[in-house]
């Protein structure tokens, strides 16, 4: 009944996997084409060559033939224990630094569909940079701006500016002491209405929302089953809570059911006493894979085994669903079935912060026990007003259809972009409706070249490799936005077409390899 395969161990190239029904109409349709063997072999070979050169360079540096670049420990000569082990920073010295210019690119304008990148040049192979003072205009496929709310003028920006004039930028106090303003309560009420739940609480940082609140909900004696590809903030929160945790294979409902079954039957390891509570932690959209969680099956399992479900909608709130209400909306389900809904404001609302939503008891409990409520400063006024005004637009309360237009535009852009890429013969991962579009590149040198070539053509992309992904599965990840026009998408597609041809990125065996001009 739950028919997806177990993931193989990471050293082998990934096998093809597909969710339940193969038809394109099914909203759960996701595809992860297997890694071609030659690509995997070449990737290992590339890393092997990089390692050999790394050792050679380290040897040259140790024997003072080559000058040591990078900062030196001021305490080195005083017999202190070294702060970093040499092998820990091998990767940083010899691999990361060579390609450092493709990461951390400074932005000099608002991060909307087109932006200005600050030009920086390195004269010593990325050890140091100097700024030329110029900017490079590029189309933005890297920022999380799904609904296009990253704007410097317009309703939201005006609301933020007015709030600075009337409330200042900071509060210098925690929520439990003197940090609660009227607009905090307004935000929480409005958000609860938008998500159609009883109650909601907001925090100033999305990462901290997970890391500081999971310990308030779970504790020693509980079991947490979390997806293998969960975000670092969830893993940190689980670790800090003191509960026992087990991972289940990514999106594999059979594996999860097996673990739930065993957990209840055999109890805690050692003394076999029953678990106090069992949690399942999953994400709405997984940001590196583009896949979405199998929510109907999850809710079914959760009800059967009486577990609690924690859904992290960091990327999916606002960007999925016909009303932008997230994965719950996408599957047309009742939000009251999910015990703890979590999300962030950074991606779809153009602001910063996170929230947790659910029943009133849960939220009151968090107000009393959350680390963030007692020790972290409350949210700044312009940040809150940006969220409030973008929520008003999304809910149609501003009297226009702008909210629905944005949601529809995002869905159209996503489908168009994905279809074109797949038709051209590139391997694209993830759900067909997910605005995160990972395209596989595999080899480290190709990843770097792709990034630089795309920037030369005026497209800014995000490429990720080890350790954010598996060693063999380096990829480029496009983030589609509602503010991208058809022309921008076409420009990007033709650039991908050209670069993909030059570097031979068309790996797909399931779809034909075609040039863009042959698709029309």
């Amino acid at each position: 009944m739950f028919g997806s395969k177990q993931m193989k161990p990471s050293i082998l190239p990934a096998q093809h996997r597909c969710t339940v029904k193969e038809t394109e109409d099914n909203c759960e349709f996701e595809e992860f084409e297997g890694t071609p063997l030659y690509a995997a072999l070449l990737t290992y070979l590339s890393y092997g060559v990089l390692c050999i050169f790394g050792w050679l360079r380290d040897f040259l540096r140790q024997s003072y033939i080559e000058k040591k670049k990078g900062a030196l420990d001021p305490n080195a000569k005083l017999n202190f224990v070294p702060l970093y082990q040499s092998y820990e920073s091998f990767y940083t010295r010899n691999m990361y630094t060579r390609v450092r210019d493709i990461f951390n690119r400074p932005v000099g304008s608002v991060a909307s569909s087109e932006f200005d990148l600050v030009e920086r040049i390195s004269d010593d192979y990325n050890w140091t940079y100097r700024y030329t003072g110029n900017t490079i205009r590029a189309i933005n496929f890297g920022s999380y701006n799904y609904l296009g709310f990253a704007e410097k003028d317009g309703q939201c920006a005006m609301a933020a500016i007015n709030s600075i004039k009337s409330n200042g930028t900071a509060l210098c106090s925690t929520r439990s002491e003197l940090g609660t303003q009227r607009y905090h309560n307004e935000l929480e009420t409005l958000l609860a209405e938008y998500l159609r739940v009883e109650s909601c609480i907001a925090f100033g940082m999305g990462f901290a929302t997970n890391a500081l609140n999971i310990p308030a909900i779970a504790s020693k004696g509980d079991l947490i089953l979390s997806d293998k590809l969960n975000h670092v903030s969830l893993i940190l929160g689980v670790r800090m809570s003191g509960a026992k945790s087990q991972t289940f294979a990514h999106n594999d409902m059979d594996d999860l059911e097996q673990k739930l079954h065993n957990a209840i039957v055999y109890g805690q390891p050692g003394h076999h006493r029953p678990w106090r509570k069992i949690f399942i932690i999953v994400e709405g959209i997984y940001s590196m894979e583009g896949s979405i969680c199998r929510l109907p099956l999850l809710v079914q399992l959760k009800k059967k085994y009486k577990a609690y479900l924690y859904l992290d909608e960091a990327h999916s709130i606002g960007s999925m669903g016909k009303n932008g209400r997230g994965i719950v909306d996408y599957y047309n389900m009742d939000p009251n079935d999910i015990d703890i809904l979590m999300g962030t404001f950074t991606k779809s609302f153009g602001s910063s912060g996170g929230y947790i939503a659910g029943k009133k008891d849960l939220i009151d409990h968090l107000r009393i026990h959350s680390h963030a409520n007692y020790y972290a400063s409350s949210m700044s006024a312009p940040v809150v007003y940006q969220i409030l005004s973008s929520l008003h637009i999304l809910m149609g309360r501003d009297g226009t259809k702008d909210g629905m237009r944005r949601i529809q535009q995002l869905a159209d852009n996503t489908r168009y972009f994905r279809k074109k890429l797949v038709d051209m013969g590139f391997i694209v991962y993830g759900n067909k409706n997910s605005p995160i579009v990972p395209m596989m590149i595999y080899m480290p040198a190709r990843v770097t070249r792709f990034n630089r070539e795309m920037l030369a053509r005026g497209i800014a992309v995000v490429t990720v490799g080890f350790p954010a992904t598996k060693l063999v599965e380096a990829r480029v990840r496009f983030c589609i936005s509602a503010s991208h026009t058809r022309e921008m998408l076409d420009k990007a597609l033709s650039a991908i077409d050209e670069v993909g041809d030059t570097i031979s990125l068309r790996y797909s065996k399931r779809y034909e390899h075609r040039r863009l001009k042959d698709l029309k």
Binding site: A71, L72, P74, L78, V81, Q85, F103, P106, V107, G108, V110, A111, N140, S143, Y144, K152, A157, I161, I164, S166, G168, T169, A170, L171, C172, S173, R175, S176, L178, G179, Q181, R182, M205, G206, L212, V232, S233, L236, M240, H261, I278, Y308, T344, F345, G350, S352, L362, D364, H365, I368, H369, A372, Y375, A376, S377, S380, P382, V383, A460, V462
Partner: protein
């Protein structure tokens, strides 16, 4: 003895009776005897020395299903007390500067950690507005993926320059700053010496690092030395392990929970004697202590190159949101790939970075702000200790003080009623709130904060109200 030449029939006939048995023993081959002896020992071990392994009872499907049906989890959250103070907080309107508005009534603010009164400052507000008009509100990405705005780089450079250090790094949340920094450097086998009175974010950072924690009594240098000597003795026993164990000392410049300064000079001396690295958290002392607000290192005139890392927050004196760390490039640069709160989180909204830069500008232009603050703190301290009936905790120079009632009178209930009474007289103060799982839970107290723009008359008014409150509540 090797009688393999004997025929099998002969050997058998020898074994039939007891005498024959002994005889056969003498006549058997050597290998046979050795095998028999080993077999004998094996049997003895199996019978007497092996622990009996419990036989796992296999459950039937029906039994498993019953267990699943019977199991009831605990409720998601325990029952909540609707009268808990965290559920009944005061709701404010308007900017929370020197004066705040609660329910349309204005009162003097002695509760927000707004030391330099930058909240509501015109210059800071106009710079933030300019930043919104250029960058929008959010930064839409983590630092590694187009979330680095040029204004972040400017702020990092300005902070490094302010402290005279090589490099600075900023975080988007004050709590996450020190909580991400500690696990980035200190791992499972390392040793951390930490003061018992550090605030909660440091405690969480230490917990996340999974290192060996050695708590020493608050500001007690003798206790610290005792622990250092213990560690030195351990090192002598296993030199190889000692060469791979990093050591850190984590202290605060001005303690949030106590209001007193840490004895830094002696700690720096001990650093070079026992070879540990010092991380100071200057959340409260940044912008409040020192001639020009550069914190405790300036106050004690210690060379900042001797401190490995100074971390702080922009949420108190600087009137913005976020946190930062400064130090040598060697130390700070490591966080850019290893600190979780930096790599995996969206970056600081540009308008808040602009607010912080402007705050730094004001701090550098008006360095007499800090002298004024220290002078007024001393003034307030003298006035407070003159009120009979309160115990004041905190250094005389510190703008953050804890006020308690003597002995058994000191309960949260009484302190809350003092706070409530003060509010009716248009003075806003607050009881310090802590979670129950603090390492050393401080005694209930009212945390009093001095704003640099408070005048002497206002301080006198505060003291009068506090005096009156004693009469009314006890």
């Amino acid at each position: 003895m090797l009688l393999s030449s004997m025929s099998s029939v002969d050997i058998e006939s020898l074994a039939t009776d007891f005498y024959g048995l002994i005889q056969s023993f003498y006549h058997a081959p050597l290998y046979h005897i050795i095998l028999e002896i080993l077999l004998f020992f094996a049997v003895m071990w199996l019978l007497f020395f092996r622990k009996p392994r419990p036989i796992e009872k296999k459950l039937t499907e029906k039994e498993k299903q019953e267990l699943i049906d019977e199991w009831q989890p605990e409720p998601l959250v325990p029952t909540v007390d609707p009268n808990h103070p965290a559920l009944n907080v005061r709701i404010l309107d308007g900017p929370v500067g020197k004066y705040i508005t609660i329910d349309n009534e204005q009162s003097l603010n002695f509760a927000s950690l707004n030391f330099l009164n930058f909240v509501g400052n015109e210059r800071i507000q106009s710079k933030s507005i300019q930043a919104v008009q250029k960058y929008g509100v959010g930064s839409c990405g983590p630092r590694g993926f187009y979330g680095t705005i040029d204004i972040h780089l400017e702020l990092e450079e300005r902070l490094a320059r302010f402290f005279g250090c090589e490099e600075g790094i900023i975080y988007s949340y004050g709590f996450s700053t020190i909580a991400s920094i500690i696990p980035a450097y200190s791992k499972r086998n390392d040793v951390i010496f930490v003061d018992e009175g550090v605030h909660y974010a440091i405690q969480k950072g230490i917990e996340a690092s999974r290192s060996n924690i050695k708590w020493f009594k608050h500001n007690d240098l003798d206790d610290l030395e005792r622990l250092l000597i213990e560690q030195e003795n351990l090192d002598k026993k296993n030199i190889k392990k000692a060469r791979a164990t990093r050591r850190f000392l984590i202290v605060e410049g001005l303690y949030m929970n106590y209001g007193d300064l840490c004895p830094l000079p002696r700690m720096v001396e001990l650093k070079y004697k026992y070879k540990y690295r010092i991380f100071i958290d200057e959340s409260v002392s940044f912008g409040t202590i020192g001639q020009t607000g550069r914190g405790i290192t300036e106050y004690y005139n210690i060379d900042r190159q001797q401190i490995d890392l100074i971390s702080s927050t922009l949420e108190y004196a600087a009137g913005s949101i976020g946190g930062f760390a400064v130090g040598s490039s060697f130390v700070v640069d490591h966080q850019r790939l290893s600190a979780q709160g930096y790599c995996f989180s969206a970056s600081l909204p540009p308008l808040l970075a602009a607010a912080a830069i402007e705050a730094l500008n004001i701090m550098e232009e008006n360095s007499d702000l800090f002298e004024t603050l220290m002078y007024k703190s001393e003034q307030l301290h003298n006035k407070l200790i003159a009120i009979k009936g309160y115990i004041i905790q905190g250094d005389y120079l510190s703008p953050l003080k804890h006020i308690r009632l003597p002995n058994e009178f000191n309960t949260t209930g009484r302190l809350e009623s003092i706070v409530h009474f003060a509010q009716t007289k248009h003075i806003t103060i607050t009881v310090a709130r802590y979670l129950q799982d603090e390492h050393v839970l401080p005694q209930p107290s009212i945390r009093l904060i001095l704003n640099v723009d408070i005048t002497e008359e206002e301080m006198d008014f505060l003291c009068a109200v506090l005096q009156e409150a004693l009469v009314v509540t006890i």
